[in-house]
């Protein structure tokens, strides 16, 4: 069985099909995403890279069901999100997706443990289950000792690890991280990358994150590169990325991308 066939057997978690997102600007529209196709399977560790304004955050917002495409459709775990009403979109986000934000976005009046507990609270878990899961999540990010500290008493790295714990505590199918290392120094950024990668490998969690942080890209299995709202490359296997992005030799056209159903090394197969 070749690599392509093996990947096909794994369930497709996210399917972005011909998605366009335009925003009104004065009397015109600006196109943030233009006919984007992307397929992500369970357990992938995927980076969406590109310069500022390339559409990374917009794509993450669409996959995270916090925005709706102008055209095209997105399937999460086989569910066509364009058919869902607001309440069902909310339920989908609540149950299947975890979010990590660039600015951590912890609730400042809650302790670290209470912040991690919040998604479970929203899902209506009992207090005993919540306690157990929060302890596990904090343990997995190595911050059990800081459970009762408020965010303002934590370092930036600790805050982002708490945010990761919050994103995984309800055992989502997918974790979306928008520029998770942008506000961290090198040491904390490296620790966070290692943590996310470890969670990906150990728990089989699917991570999709937007970044232009080279440190993070070096540790990423698959990189989808956006420019001006279009996918310009989709590459797999970590070590070669650095050189690849610097040389920018391997480029795929949008038409070529459209035919691929997953994240194989498209450029090399072409």
């Amino acid at each position: 069985m070749n690599e392509l066939a093996a990947v096909d057997e794994i369930a497709e978690l996210v399917s972005v099909e011909s998605v366009t997102r335009r925003f009104p600007l004065d009397h015109n529209y600006v196109s943030a995403l233009d006919d984007v196709n992307l397929h992500v399977h369970s357990g992938e560790f995927l980076a969406i890279a590109g310069p500022s304004g390339s559409g990374k955050s917009t794509l993450l917002n669409l996959i995270g069901c916090i925005d709706k495409p102008t055209s095209g459709r997105i399937l999460i775990d086989g569910v066509d999100t364009s058919t869902l009403n607001s309440a069902r979109m909310t339920a989908l986000r609540r149950e299947k997706i975890g979010f990590v934000f660039q600015t951590f976005n912890l609730i400042p009046v809650f302790t670290a443990a209470e912040n991690v507990e919040f998604p479970l609270l929203v899902q209506g878990f009992s207090s005993s289950v919540r306690r157990e899961r929060v302890a596990e999540a904090l343990e997995s990010v190595g911050l059990s000792a800081r459970a009762n500290h408020r965010p303002d008493l934590l370092s930036g790295g600790e805050r982002q690890r708490i945010a990761v714990a919050r994103a995984i505590v309800h055992r989502p199918a997918l974790v979306l991280a928008d520029e998770p290392t942008a506000n961290l120094d090198t040491r904390n950024a490296t620790q966070l990358i290692d943590l996310m990668h470890d969670l990906n490998r150990r728990l089989g969690l699917t991570f999709i994150f937007s970044t232009h942080d080279q440190r993070l890209l070096e540790h990423t299995d698959r990189i989808v590169r956006l420019t001006d709202g279009r996918v310009v490359s989709d590459t797999q296997s970590g070590g070669a990325h650095n050189a690849e992005f610097q040389s920018d030799e391997i480029m795929v056209t949008q038409a070529q991308m459209k035919g691929s159903s997953h994240g194989q090394v498209l450029a090399s197969s072409l």
Partner: protein, 409 residues
């Protein structure tokens, strides 16, 4: 729910300065309502008790005809067997005593000047036993000895217009129950200041035997019943009504509130003023809180976006804002009630007197009454006001576009 309440509670104290300012505003509203309402309540209480103790009594008994048909002459519709009725009533619970009265009118003259009077004939002993003492400005009260001199108390206005003083003589003229004109001479025992100028200008008080001689009748117009406590009025009235039904003459009971027209007018006027004040406080708290809560909402836009992104139902966000405002209202009410009672205590012990109200001549002591229902009502008012103030910010928060909220700086 506990965690949700905890979140709301902590959010209230997130910006302490703003919270304190809101508490001062809300508490100030409650303090204002408690002080004004407490002062009005004390005024109502004082007016009620003075109205009763100035001679109205708690219950009055009349013949049924007194209110049903037009009276041609004084005592046409009086109570015949009033001693029996008084004895029956006196045996009831909470009854301190019964005083017979004749309310009549006529003319008076000192030989130089004449004038009209609104007279009241009383049994001084019975009146004194009920504490119905006229406010003597000069001289003394009527003699309590039976068969004494025929004496009269006159109002300060009468004394001034007639240019008479205690010890001077007056002739009283009135129409008897048979329709004849009769007159008696009385000596002025004292001058009374009722506090109401219109009353003082017509006031005359003589003993019951004097009036019965003047009016040529053994009847009385009414019996005044004094109770141990005003709050027992309804209970006693309910007990007395069936007992009076067994008597030969058909009698009716009137409670003090049915007869105190001035008290009702004053209460109605000041109650309206208080309601108006309550409305002002309500909207003051509402409008200023809307602004504060909107500011809070804008400051927390990204946080709300984060909560929504995590799948928090929009109804929860709305409930959170309303809950926070309600908590703020509860705390403001507690602060207001505590401060209101403290200020009330200080004012009650400051010995402040206000100028005489319109129509009266006696300065009024500034006292504030502690009224539990007022505390509860004022608290509910500000809590509801704040909860309503939160609705607009809550709706706006719950309708935020998540992606835009997350990008909010």
């Amino acid at each position: 729910m506990g965690k949700f309440l905890l979140l709301a509670f902590r959010n209230v104290f997130r910006n302490r300065r703003r919270t304190i300012m809101t508490l001062v505003m809300v508490g100030g509203g409650v303090v204002g309502l408690l002080l004004v309402g407490g002062f009005f309540a004390r005024m109502f209480w004082g007016l009620r008790e003075s109205t009763i103790n100035d001679g109205l009594g708690h219950i009055q008994i009349f013949t049924a005809e007194h209110f049903n048909r037009e009276e041609k002459h004084v005592l046409d519709t009086g109570i015949d067997n009033w001693r029996q009725v008084a004895a029956t009533v006196s045996t009831g619970g909470h009854v301190r005593g019964v005083a017979p009265r004749i309310e009549f009118y006529g003319m008076l003259s000192n030989g130089v000047k004449s004038g009209v009077f609104m007279g009241s004939a009383v049994d001084p002993v019975a009146e004194n036993s009920l504490g119905f003492s006229p406010r003597i400005a000069q001289g003394r009260d009527l003699d309590t000895k039976p068969g004494g001199e025929m004496e009269a108390l006159i109002g300060a206005g009468v004394a001034r217009s007639m240019n008479v003083k205690p010890g001077d003589g007056l002739t009283l003229l009135a129409v008897t129950s048979d329709g004849a004109l009769n007159g008696i001479d009385v000596q002025i025992a004292g001058v009374v200041n009722t506090g109401y100028k219109e009353v003082d200008d017509r006031y005359l008080r003589i003993t019951l035997p004097s009036a019965q001689r003047l009016l040529q009748s053994d009847r009385v117009t009414n019996l005044v019943v004094g109770l141990d406590n005003t709050d027992n009025t309804d209970v006693v009235a309910a007990q007395l009504a069936p007992r009076l039904n067994g008597l030969p003459q058909q009698l009716v009971l009137k409670k003090w509130i049915d007869l105190a027209a001035y008290y009702k007018q004053v209460r109605s006027l000041f109650s309206t003023i208080f309601v108006f004040l309550g409305i002002i406080v309500f909207f003051m708290v509402l409008m200023s809180s809307v602004n504060t809560l909107l500011m809070t909402m804008f400051e927390r836009t990204r946080e709300i976006g984060t909560m929504l992104a995590m799948g928090t139902p929009r109804s929860w966000i709305m409930a959170l804002f309303v809950l926070e405002a309600t908590l703020l209202g509860v705390m403001g009410a507690i602060v207001g009630v505590a401060c209101g009672n403290l200020f009330g205590f200080l004012l009650n012990h400051a010995g402040i007197h206000l100028p005489p109200p319109p129509g009266t001549t006696v300065p009024m002591a500034f006292k504030v009454l502690y009224v539990p229902s007022l505390m509860v009502g004022s608290s509910i008012l500000v809590i509801v006001s704040l909860a309503l103030a939160a609705i607009l910010p809550a709706i706006r928060a719950s309708r935020l576009q998540i992606a835009e909220a997350l990008a909010h700086v």
